[in-house]
Structures are given as C-alpha cells and as structure tokens.
C-alpha cells in the first residue's frame, strides 16, 4: 500500500505542484484585474442603458433576483431604476440572457415606469453568426420592440415590421437568433415585472 502511494506521488508530484503554482498565479492575476474588469462591464452596461433611456440617471433598484428560465435554470437579474434630474421615474432597465444560435445572448432590456411598454433593448454580448444572427443588434429588428406591450411576444416569419405590437417579424436567414431574443423577452419581462411589483417600485411614475 505504502509502495503504491509512493509510486503515485513519484509519478504525479510535478503535476500537483504545477497545478498549485499555476492556480496561485491565476488567483493573483484575477485579484489584481478583477476590479477593472468589473468596472469595464459596469461602464458598458451604463452606456447601453443610457442608449435606451436618454437623460436619466440609473440606480440599482433590485439586486440578484432569481428568474426561472425553465428546465430548472435560474438566472440572476439586476434591475436599475432610471430617473430624471427631478427624481421622476423614467423606467427600468435589467439584464436578461438566453441561448442563441451560436452562444449565449445577453441583453439589456428597458421598460417604461409603469412596466407596461418595452422601451427597447441592447445587446450586452453575443456571438451570433456575422451577417445573419448578429443583426439582432440592427435597427430593423430592435425597433420592433420599442413600444411593444409587456407580455408574451410572438415571432412570425413574415408581416409588417413597422406595426408595433406583440408580433415580432424574424430576421430573414436568422430565425433561430430572432426566436432566441423573443424567448428571452418572454422568459424575463413578466417575471421581472412581478418582482418589481412585489417590491412596490411601480408607482405612477414617481
């Protein structure tokens, strides 16, 4: 028994020591740069939110709420309240994510102060196919969500994309990516609305 343990240690000591040293190196590097990486993420989020609700200041309203994305998966969501200089509520922004065609799609969604209409969305991160799926960021598709009612959205392959309602017209050649965005809206918006109501944040725009 002792001989066997000795044999294994002799064979693997370099691997164990290296794993420890490299792990330590990564831990040190991460601790040095993690603050900056987090700051970059926050700056990007701020920019995207400012693009959705102009002339507003954003403050965290609810942090780390768990949203059920079905199949036993939960995603942490942070809700930000947008207010103008006088403190009047202009709406809410929150992060949302779901599986796309190539990889996870992360969005920032904005809704109005009463949580009745969608104000729009921006793409926080995605690796959708260039020239096809990456058009989820284009005006043609994004604009269909601006003014859409909060509730279940339906994706159609054809129709008039200029009519703003709960019907979203898919991007030609990128139905999977289009469906992914609609699914993210359907999974997140109503649940976030319920949580916001529970917290008593929906109060006549004040």
């Amino acid at each position: 028994m002792f001989r066997l343990v000795r044999y294994y240690i002799k064979q693997s000591w370099l691997l164990v020591v290296s794993a420890f040293v490299f792990g330590l190196l990564l831990a040190v590097t991460n601790s040095i740069w993690s603050g900056r990486i987090e700051q970059n993420k926050n700056d990007k989020l701020d920019n995207l939110m400012s693009g959705l609700i102009a002339d507003a200041e954003f403050a965290p309203a609810i942090s780390d709420i768990q949203i059920d994305c079905a199949k036993g998966k939960f995603v942490k969501v942070n809700v930000y309240k947008a207010a103008d200089k006088s403190g009047r509520s202009k709406g809410f922004c929150f992060n949302a994510s779901g599986a796309g065609f190539a990889d996870k799609i992360e969005l920032v969604i904005a809704v109005d102060a009463k949580f009745e209409k969608v104000l729009g969305y921006n793409v926080l991160s995605s690796n959708e196919t260039p020239g096809f799926g990456d058009q989820i960021d284009d005006y043609y598709f994004c604009s269909q969500f601006s003014g859409a009612p909060v509730g279940q959205l339906v994706l159609n392959k054809s129709g008039d994309s200029k009519i703003i309602n709960s019907e979203i017209i898919a991007i030609s050649g990128a139905t999977v990516s289009s469906d992914a965005v609609v699914s993210i809206f359907n999974s997140f918006v109503e649940q976030v609305k319920a949580k916001t109501q529970e917290e008593g944040l929906l109060s006549d725009g004040k």
């Binding site: 691997l15 290296s18 490299f22 190196l25 740069w33 900056r36 990007k44 690796n127």
Partner: protein, 202 residues
Amino acid sequence: MANKTISIGKTFMAGIWDENPVFRLLLGMCPTLAVTTAVKPSLTMGLSVIFVLVCSNVVVSLMRNLLKPHLRILMFTLSIATFVTIADLFLKAFMPIMSAELGPYLPLIIVNCLIICRAEACASKNGLFVSIIDAFGMGIGFTLVLCVLGGIRELLATGAIFEIPVMWENFVPWQAMRMPVGAFVTLGLMLGIVNLITGKKA
C-alpha cells in the same frame, strides 16, 4: 561560436518562412480564419499567441528534465491554459472592446496546435535560449501571416487599413471578405502563391 549564431538565426527564421506555422505547417487554422476580418484583431491575436508561446516554451523548457513521458501533454496543456487565461484577463481588463471582438477565439488558443507542437518539438528537447528564440520566430511568423490576411480582407471589405480609408472614393466594398468565404478564398490564394514561390505543388 559562429555555428551557434547561425543555428539561432536559422531557428528564428524557420518560424518566419521555412517552417511558418500557417504557410508551411498549416497549424492554428481556427484563429487564422476566424479573427482576420481586420488588422487590429489579427495583430491582437498574434501578440497574444506570442505571449502564450514564449511563456509556455520557457516553462516547458525549464521542466523538460522532470517531465514524465505519459504526463507531458497534460503538463503542456496546464501551462498553456494558465497563460491563455492571463492573456484573456488582460484583454478583458485593458482592451474590453477587442476582447469582445475576439470572442471565444482567444480562450481557444489553449487548443491551438501550434503552441503544443512547439512545446513538444522544441521546448521539451532544447534549452531555455533556443526555446525562447523558437517561440519568437514561430509567434512572429504566425502574427505576420494573420496581419497580411487581415489587411487584405479589411482593405477589400471596407476600403481601409487600420480603419483608415485608403481606397478611392467610389470603391464598392466586397462584403464577402468579412464572411468566412473571404477568409477561405484569401488564405487559399496566399497558400497557392507561397507554394509557387517555394516551387512546391499545392
């Protein structure tokens, strides 16, 4: 002394031309095709590969006498993964836009055959100095090819180089050059030209 100088020079130049990772060894094809839509991402990918290649060659060369034959690939992967993660964290911290543009292809350097190939073929059999020279030669050779490929694609797809317009006013951009087909066609033509130059049949 003279012989040693020549062999060091040959080791370095091998990576640039004679054993160029892309043109002659056809290694690292995934980033070569995926990130060369423009010069900037190509250059960033190339510099990241040089960093990982040099660091992993140094580590492998230093521990070459301690390596057990059946554990060597595991050790190579462990060291490569560490340095790739450091490069990835660096880009996320200091070049977040470029990090987002490179997407999953930066972490995928871990499985880049070029780096494991150099660890196995050179660093595990040679001293520190030769391993570093080999890493720089191979890394610079890889970076040059990526930049040329990225330059051609950016020029034809946007009419610019380093985002500076250089083509005539009515130039019609070739959108296909931004797509995967642009990468395959350009790389194929470049390989054909290199084979013509070296007198080797495609």
